[in-house]
Each structure stands twice: as structure tokens, then as C-alpha cells.
């Protein structure tokens, strides 16, 4: 039955449409609401996608590497570095270990101090890059052994600051999804209210249609078509505006953090296109429920 209704909806039945008098204000409000909600949904969707990307990137890129930093007096630098490397190589769960060369360290510092930094003459700590394997390593045990063998070595496994960030990103993604859900429910509620108002205002029309032998589904269909169509139009406009607003955000730069990442990348631009379709589905379902319930009550 839903299929038939859906087909009639798509095929179009101008006569069934016109049995409901123009419901001007109610329907225009519905259109506006659908548009506004779609606009908000685009942002909630962008937020979810962006934070999702962020969380993935952070946890993937950072989870696999750690750094050991060695600060020691000039004379002990070499020996402590050797000792630390030895400890790291014999620690289970650690894969590749590599002391950064002077050139690499200089490259890392260049953005802050300029390219001509005399690394040799400055007490710059030696950095060792540590790559983790499958199951990871026991960070506390490693710290203990490092402090015994190389007192100047500090293990920086990023987790201290990484975990809360990844958590925050995950939480934001959840919030984005919850927002989308709430927007959907609000839209359904608004449409139910205006469908009820339209039906109540058209009790006379319902009476005439019943008099000439219209079944409930016929009467409901007329209202459903009206509201679904207008919701689709409103949501399409809102989505287009939302996507335009996102496209006009300042471009994504490599230095840019989270804020400039708030957009759609590549095929993700297709995601917001389902918003009007979902909105129309919500309108279809909400109006149909409201209409059939209301028609059950008016006898």
C-alpha cells in the first residue's frame, strides 16, 4: 500500500492535489522550516564528517609513533643515545628505532629558528623516532628502564595530549550525529503539527470528499503530496544554501587546524544531497501518520 501511495506520489495526480485548497500560510511555514532545518543539517553533517576525519587522522598518525628525547651534557650525549637505542631495540612491541640526524633536527627547528641554526653548538636534545608494532609496548616499563640506562632520556608517547583530543573529536562527531537526529525529529514534529492544522482547517473538504465516497487513503494522499512536495523544495533550497556557505568558507590550508577543515572533501560532497530526500521521506511519513490518525478521529 505504501508502495502504491509512493508511486502515485511520484507519478503525480493533479486532481488529488487540487482537492485540498491552497493552504498558503501553513505550507509556506513548512517550506521555511524544512529549509532552515536542512541548512542546519548540512552544518551538522559537515561537523560530523570533519571531526570524524580528524579523529581518524589523529589516532592513526599519532598512535604509531613516539619520540624519545635525550638531554644530556655534551660529553654524555653520544653514550646516552647509544644506551637508549639499545634499550629501545630490546623492548618488545617496538619496531623501527632511529636517531634523527643533525640535518633532520635542523629541518624540524627551521620553522622556529631559521635555517642557519648551529645545531652543533647549541644544547639541542637528541631525538629518537620510535615506531610501534602491532600490540604496542608497555610505556611505564620502558620509562623505568630508560631512566636506569639513560637518565637524560624522556619518552614522549603523545598519548598524554593525544587521548583527550581524539576523545573530543569522537565526542564532537557523536554530537553532530545526534544533532542530525534531533533536526530530523524536529522536522517530523513541525510537519505533523502543520499537517494537523491543515487537516483541521479543511474539515469541510474532508466532509465533502467522504460524502462522494473518498477513502481515507485518498484524502490522506492529497495532504501527503502537498506537504512532501513543499518539504522537498524547502529542504533542497536549504541544503543548497548550506553547501554554498560551506564552499565559501576559507580554504583548507596545510597549517589550518580543525576550523578550516570544516568542509566536505571529494565525494563527501554527495552526502548533503541526501538531506532533501530524507526530509521528504520524513514529511511523507509524518503527514501520512498525522492524516490517517486525524481521519480515524473524524467520523
Amino acid at each position: 500500500m505504501v508502495l502504491i501511495t509512493l508511486r502515485a506520489l511520484i507519478a503525480g495526480d493533479p486532481q488529488a492535489d487540487r482537492v485540498v485548497p491552497p493552504t498558503g500560510f501553513t505550507v509556506r511555514l513548512t517550506m521555511f522550516t524544512a529549509g532552515a532545518m536542512a541548512f542546519l543539517a548540512v552544518f551538522a553533517l559537515a561537523l560530523s564528517l570533519a571531526t570524524g576525519r580528524l579523529a581518524d587522522r589523529w589516532s592513526e598518525a599519532l598512535a604509531r609513533t613516539a619520540t624519545v628525547r635525550i638531554s644530556a651534557p655534551e660529553g654524555q650525549m653520544q653514550t646516552q643515545t647509544e644506551a637508549a637505542l639499545q634499550v629501545l631495540r630490546t623492548t618488545p612491541g617496538i619496531g623501527e628505532v632511529r636517531a634523527l640526524s643533525d640535518a633532520e633536527q635542523r629541518a624540524l627547528l627551521a620553522p622556529w629558528f631559521g635555517p642557519d641554526l648551529p645545531v652543533d653548538t647549541l644544547p639541542v636534545p637528541q631525538l629518537i623516532e620510535v615506531a610501534e608494532t602491532g600490540d604496542g609496548y608497555d610505556a611505564e616499563g620502558l620509562r623505568l628502564r630508560l631512566s636506569a640506562e639513560a637518565p637524560g632520556a624522556v619518552l614522549d608517547d603523545h598519548t598524554r595530549w593525544r587521548r583527550p583530543l581524539v576523545q573530543a573529536a569522537d565526542r564532537l562527531r557523536m554530537l553532530g550525529l545526534v544533532s542530525i537526529g534531533l533536526i530530523g525529529l524536529t522536522t517530523a514534529a513541525m510537519i505533523t503539527l502543520s499537517a494537523n492544522a491543515a487537516l483541521a482547517a479543511n474539515a469541510g473538504v474532508v466532509r465533502v470528499l467522504r460524502l462522494v465516497g473518498a477513502r481515507d487513503v485518498y484524502i490522506a494522499r492529497a495532504f501527503v503530496r502537498r506537504f512532501t512536495g513543499r518539504t522537498l523544495q524547502g529542504a533542497a533550497a536549504g541544503t543548497a544554501l548550506g553547501m554554498l556557505a560551506i564552499a565559501l568558507l576559507p580554504g583548507v590550508s596545510t597549517a589550518g587546524g580543525f576550523l578550516t577543515g570544516l568542509g566536505f572533501h571529494g565525494w563527501h560532497w554527495l552526502w548533503p544531497l541526501i538531506i532533501p530526500i530524507v526530509a521528504a521521506g520524513v514529511a511523507f511519513w509524518a503527514t501520512r501518520m498525522a492524516a490517517l490518525r486525524m481521519l480515524r478521529e473524524i467520523t
Binding site: 486532481q15 465533502v208 467522504r210 462522494v212 465516497g213
Partner: protein, 225 residues
Amino acid sequence: MIELQNVTHSYGGGELLSDITLRLQPGSFHFLTGPSGAGKSTLLKLCYGELRPAAGNVQLFGRDLGDMDRDAIAHARRRIGVVHQDCQFLDHLPLRDNLALPLAVSDRDPAAEQGNLDELLSWVGLSARAGARPPELSGGERQRAALARAVIMAPDVVLADEPTGNVDWDMSQRLLTLLVELNRMGKTILIATHDLALIRAAKSQVAARVLRIKDRQLQLAGADL
């Protein structure tokens, strides 16, 4: 066709109709008279299921109204043409679409019945007014339109509530002729009216029974008409 057995109805206050029994046999022609407020319109509404009786039994085409859901009533209504006392049109649609409404709601294609529709419009003398909206029509024009809409589905039964209330004598004779014609085609007709002259005119054309509501009861009117 339509049968009322010991039907009682009240609008909340006292009983308006009590213990009414009425059987509309196929092909019969009935008039229903009675003073204003006696319950003629109410009895008609009971006959097509707009009202449900407080007590007693209503049968539409052999089925008990109490056992029929709204879809079943909708289907039964397609076999009953009703001329409502206050006409009941969709005021935002032109007359032509209003007449085609019973076709549209029963999923028949109004476009396929254009010829029928045109014929019907000229039959009630409204061809020139087909594009007008119901509020732009005179009372008599609306009544003629209501009759046209009542018969467009070629119903088995026509229930007409004061179909000649607002028209002049010539037009009421034409409408009557129309109803008599339908009756000759085998349709069952029930007309509620105050218009005794109309009843007299009808009696010369058709074997009509005249019923009267008096003291909440239905009686057969005698030769006093």
C-alpha cells in the same frame, strides 16, 4: 438496497426519530415529507451512513452498517448518489471538477468521462457555468449541480434532500423528470421535500410512495395529499 430496522436517533437531547423502519426496494420511488425540523435530513443521513443510529439496525446493500469500516462505507457511498440539502461542494474548484469528484475519488479517470460530464452539464442546464466556482452560482444552480454530481457515478440509489428547494416551478419539473427518468432506468429514488405540488406532479408520472415523519415516527401518507 437500503434498510432501516427499528432505528432510533437523537442528537444528544431527546429522541428525534424513534423506532423507524424503512426498506428501499430496488427500483422504488419514495417521497419523504414532514414539517421543518422533523428529521428528514437526519433520516437521509442515516440512510447513507453519515450518522450511525443510537439503536436499531441500518443495512447498506445487504451489509450491516455496524460491521462496516470507513473504507467499506466509502465504497457503499459510491453506489449512493446524495443531493445534500446544503449542497456541499469544494468551493475552490470549478463546477466541472466538482461534478467529476466522485469519479476522481474512486480512481476513475475523469478525463475518460468528459462526454458523460458534458452531457450531464447540459442535462441540468449548466454547460455555460462549468468553469464557475460553487460560491459564484445561484442557489438553484447549485442544487442542479448537486443532482448532477449525485448521478455521475450511475449510482443504484439517489437520495435527494430538498432538490427543488431553490428552483422555480419549471426547473423543479425538469429535475423531477430527470429523477423519474433515472427511476425508469431502475434506480432507487428517495426525495425529501416540503413541496406537495411536486409530489402531486410526480404521482402522475410514477408509482411513488409518500412517507411522512410525524411525532418521531414514519407513516405512510394517505390520500390527503
